[in-house]
Assembly symmetry: C3
Homo-oligomer: 383 residues x 3
């Protein structure tokens, strides 16, 4: 990282421009970040009933997540142990009794064990237990399925739960929203022509809010000052006086989530879980972003709007709350794309500067840099 | 090649996954394999009459194949010796008296000799014999035009004819089909998103037949056992009892090729000629595949169905025989594409395994590896 | 450069084929040639009135060219000094009072100075003079805006004006056409699948004219001999006897430019200004090419047909003169694309040859080679 040593104290450097454009560096990020940390891949409720499965990309790997007869979710690399064919070609399915490769019919149980293959009985020296599908670590939390491709995953408690607790200031506060019991009222997928780090940096600061988020600032007037909710530990941005709900026009939202107490009412909280999750909390819903980086200059973002089951099932119109953050997303991703355009310019070869309300982004830059410098992923304790 | 040393005797390793995905390695394969060995480029009958020509890609080169006034075929790099413009822009033509570059009108005879150029008479020191089109080695066999880009081609007898003889078990057996006198009844071109080696490996084994080739196994019941015709020297797979011909529904084929004797009747033979030809022999037709690798993950396959001239000229319906191997092709190429998807997965980083009925694929892997390890192409005697 | 030492005196070598295809080499050319020399980016009249601007690509950079309240043109890298967002997203605009980044509202005067930013008053240690937009060197000549991305540009007098003078043989002859006072009667943009050097080489020689430019040779019969106007210092190619004007059919042109004296009447002059400008002079108009190289195998060419203001404003039909050089352009760019196709062939690995009427292209090759071998751009005196 090329850093000017002459900046005034108000300004600290960003990463240099090439960090956002270099294909080889992005490959290292895939290996040392997205394939090394816990990755929120999909929502558990998307895989309903024994034998249901979905396939999902994690870093550069395609993973099968399947629910067993014991109703447990398990995850495997989507690679046959025989000749490497992709085992599941579909994005999803239900009621499978086994996972069978379509090339030579090697057949695996839902727990990944090799159970049969043509002529296998003529190969008595082949130990089936050595040729099961390769396991991927899996945890369920907040209703999402978190996967880790690494052989030795970092502590989920430290790197995921710890990151949420650190932001909210109390380990259990996230439980107030009961996110695992909410349902997806709306999902929008964005295809963003920008490096994933630009999207993280954008989410972490609110210095841009007054410029690009008129609707958001109307609902959360303090954002006009440029201090993001994430600037302070445990801080929620307060709704404006005449704002009835977290909606595009400040109109009333839907039924509040019962667990949200008075302290957290009429407030907006934002959490970043490195490397690819953003969680937004308001009294009546949760907005949950998962990023899927696909190239140095391209990131797919899946955004879920989560509501109480009775809200979703009643078919109640949630358009006004969806529209608010959908606009914020579009405004933010446009901004990230503007930055991507200059990543290779000599005018940004040494990067730019962070103003005081953005200085905490420097911690993210340090975290990224540390992953790339080190051979091993590093837990939250050293972040 | 990273090889596990712990495999049971029934299993031997494949090539590692990156062998099928790495662009630099593919460049080496172009240089040391496709531009070093004999390459079946096109069918001679496609170039009819003096002055007819076709252009064709061989490895990374574009080659002109032209029939001279003496009715001989000759081949040249399609590169003008003056400023390098592509001389023939069309894929084919007829009745040419010369080959003239469209940029500065440098003009070559059909034997490649430079015969004229603007102002050439004012350059008396230029020896025309030094500036002819660059010759590419050419052989005609089985009615196909085989080209070799290398300056010193390997022995055609060893690497091509020898490969066929080795498979059929007798040097002259291929002559029974009189392939040079057959005509193309149907040609289908496939654009396959897979590495060429996956297509070769697939063609060499029949362990997959029961799973993906229901129609083929119906016609050749022994294929259900997983032993490819290529597993044995000189073996032809026998038609099923109630099978009248090598057709999609086992119905009768067309007029049998007279030379095919009783020993070879009602049988299917398959031959691989490294690096890019497959020959399939049945009593009434021949199916001839040529591969044109274009990228690590993309291969064009041209497949000809060849019949007796009287069959083709009579307009007889050959759809039932075409349909059988067309389905086989589609089934095989789908399988190869499934494998390509995982070539970069860490689940296939060390490759997979070959079961006993696939062990002969290991010879192909050794052949490929030897080409890349050596500076010189190696003839059949050392395969 | 791999050069055969055995060529007869009539022939000298070209650059080797890979010079026209290698992506890394093209990156070096961007850095050491297009971002190091003066680059004719746009026509000044396209930016009319204070606060008008255009954005344009120069090498790998996007540049804002803006007219200040003082009516002076200035140019800046289109990169915000804060977080690097592209400041101007539009290709053009008018009446701007300032340049404001759309991400965090950092705001610059039309002279590039940082004038305001949110919360800037709370950062008293930030010296605004250190955070203005990064200046790009700008000169206006012949009505065009010439930019130089380098910190220390080479001498404009030597590398641009000197190149024109050297070709015309007299420093001031170009002034006869009063090009800065002409207007664009027609602009055509060509997207050429060829390396920029192939386009330069083509423009420099006329050995191809008889083969590919029938209309041009009709108007300029001496071109049939293969000697380009650029072969001689100060030479203009004479119109044919029955040719009334520089038009596709030899019909009369439009009103002659008053400054063109008898010595230069009824003649065609062609000038190359390295690395990306061609100027064509005829009595009643000027054809001005600017190349924008975008990849080793792709170049955008913008071609302007410039006439007297009264001709353009009268709406007089200039189609016959436009059509002549439009055909020449299409013929030339087709030829360059033919050469691009073989750049990676082993048949052109050492390049080709230049005949005597092309030998001056060798000077261009030497110039290119010298830029890539040297760390610093080199002025005209050493060309």
């Amino acid at each position: 990282m090329s850093v000017s040593t002459e900046l005034p104290a108000s300004l600290i450097p960003t990463l240099p421009g090439p960090s956002y454009a270099d294909a080889a560096l992005f490959g290292q990020e895939q290996e040392r970040i997205f394939e090394a940390y816990w990755f929120a891949a999909l929502r558990g409720a998307e895989i309903e009933g024994p034998g249901a499965f979905r396939t999902v990309d994690v870093g550069r790997e395609n993973v099968i997540v399947v629910r067993g007869r014991d109703r447990q979710l398990r995850a495997f690399l989507n690679v046959c142990r025989h000749r490497g064919a992709r085992v599941c070609m579909e994005q999803s399915g239900t009621g499978q009794r086994k996972l069978q490769c379509g090339y030579h019919a090697w057949t695996y149980a839902l727990d990944g064990a090799l159970i049969s293959a043509p002529n296998l009985s003529q190969m008595p020296d082949v130990d089936r237990s050595q040729f099961g599908l390769i396991r991927v670590h899996l945890r369920e939390w907040l209703g999402y399925v978190w996967l880790c491709i690494a052989e030795e995953p970092p502590s989920f408690e430290d790197t995921v739960i710890g990151a949420v607790a650190e932001r909210l200031g109390a380990a259990d506060d996230i439980e107030l929203w009961g996110i695992d019991r909410l349902e997806v009222g709306k999902r929008i997928t964005y295809d963003v022509n920008a490096n994933w780090k630009l999207i993280v940096e954008n989410f972490m600061e609110c210095y841009h809010c007054a410029t690009i988020h008129p609707e958001l600032v109307e609902v959360l007037p303090e954002f006009a000052e440029g201090y993001a909710a994430q600037y302070f530990v445990g801080h929620g941005a307060e709704f404006g006086e005449n704002v009835a709900g977290f909606t595009v026009d400040g109109s009333e939202g839907v039924a509040a989530i019962p667990g949200v107490d008075e302290e957290h009412d009429r407030k907006y909280y934002a959490i970043t879980v490195n490397p690819q999750v953003f969680i937004n909390l308001v009294p009546d819903h949760v907005i949950f972003h998962r990023m899927f980086p696909v190239a140095a200059d391209r990131t797919i973002v899946e955004c879920d709007w989560l509501y109480l089951p009775e809200v979703v099932e009643s078919g109640k119109d949630v358009a006004a709350s969806v529209e608010l953050f959908h606009r914020v997303n579009e405004q933010d991703f446009d901004a990230a794309e503007r930055c991507q355009l200059t990543a290779s310019s000599k005018g940004y070869a040494k990067g730019g500067v962070l103003v005081p309300t953005e200085h905490h982004i420097g911690l993210f830059h340090e975290w990224v840099t540390r992953q790339l410098d080190s051979a091993q992923p590093i837990g939250a304790d050293t972040r």
